[in-house]
Symmetry: C2
DNA sequence: GCTTGACCTAAAGTTACCTTGAGGTTGCAC
DNA sequence: GTGCAACCTCAAGGTAACTTTAGGTCAAGC
């Protein structure tokens, strides 16, 4: 762990595109745990760049910071994660992506049917709900994408 | 426009699954414009159920209320939208979905390459960035999904 | 040894999207 | 005509994810 391998927060910010304040915020939330110099300044591992990259990607997939923390908590603290560490997390992420794509594809299909039949403005619609049954106490269209 | 066709807010809430407070909030934001009774109570068109359904779906696609308002502003106020009104909006939404799916598919492909090569924990990675070039002032991994 | 930019903490502010609460009014059923 | 659920407004509160501000400290170059 050569001293040159430790990055100050500004450097990490430059390399990830994140704001310094955001990185500190993530530390508060327990997503990242830098070392400290004797003068109390943060020093990050190079592997923390990946950790932050992971956070950014996972956020794009719609995960909240709390959920991301759960994933990241399976990574070792204080040392560079191993190949299989990252592979495990990557696979879990792939699952999330697959689910999202499936959901969007379904939505698109239903929407296409709606464009075809004009049902968004007419009587019965899969995207909307059948026979206005939500009016009978059903959950209604809000749950269409669930 | 039979009086029986006008819904009080609680009824609309039941049919959409939204909270009454959320519907009032959307009115504040200009997303929906109910009539008022002489006693100042809101009365909604049946087509407003679709309007709210549209909002819910669009939100799931990641649009903010402001963007949704832009789409909805092309619909007629105070009367039930026509078939072609909804078709136009549906098509625009389809475009959004297509873009989202394409982005996710790309991300998944890159992630797969990463799982295969283990690059998330190693040296060079498409999802991450080449040769750590972000360290040379490049934009960095944050922009991978843009 | 001193200046200056990068760093520190703690608290308050910001935006989006709502919910909750207080205090009052309406309208339908009996 | 009276009771009461459902409605009204306006203001404040809540969460997520940060940024900004204020007031100070650190460390590297000259």
């Amino acid at each position: 762990m050569d001293k040159n391998d430790l990055l100050p927060i500004g450097e990490l910010a430059r390399r990830t595109g994140l704001a310094v304040s955001a990185i500190r915020f993530y530390e508060d939330k327990g997503l990242i745990s830098p070392f400290r110099t004797m003068g109390n300044q943060r020093r990050f591992l190079r592997s923390d760049i990946r950790r932050l990259s992971f956070i950014l990607i996972a956020q794009r997939l719609g995960l909240g910071l709390a959920e991301i923390e759960v994933e990241l908590s399976t990574l070792p603290q204080g040392r560079t994660p191993s190949l299989s560490d990252w592979q495990r997390i990557s696979r879990s992420m792939r699952g999330q992506i697959d689910k999202k794509i499936a959901l969007l594809t379904l939505t698109r299909r239903k929407l296409d049917e709606c464009i075809g039949c004009g049902c968004l403005s007419l009587q019965r619609c899969q995207l909307y709900n059948r026979d206005d049954r939500a009016g009978n106490g059903g959950p209604g269209p809000r749950f269409v994408l669930d």
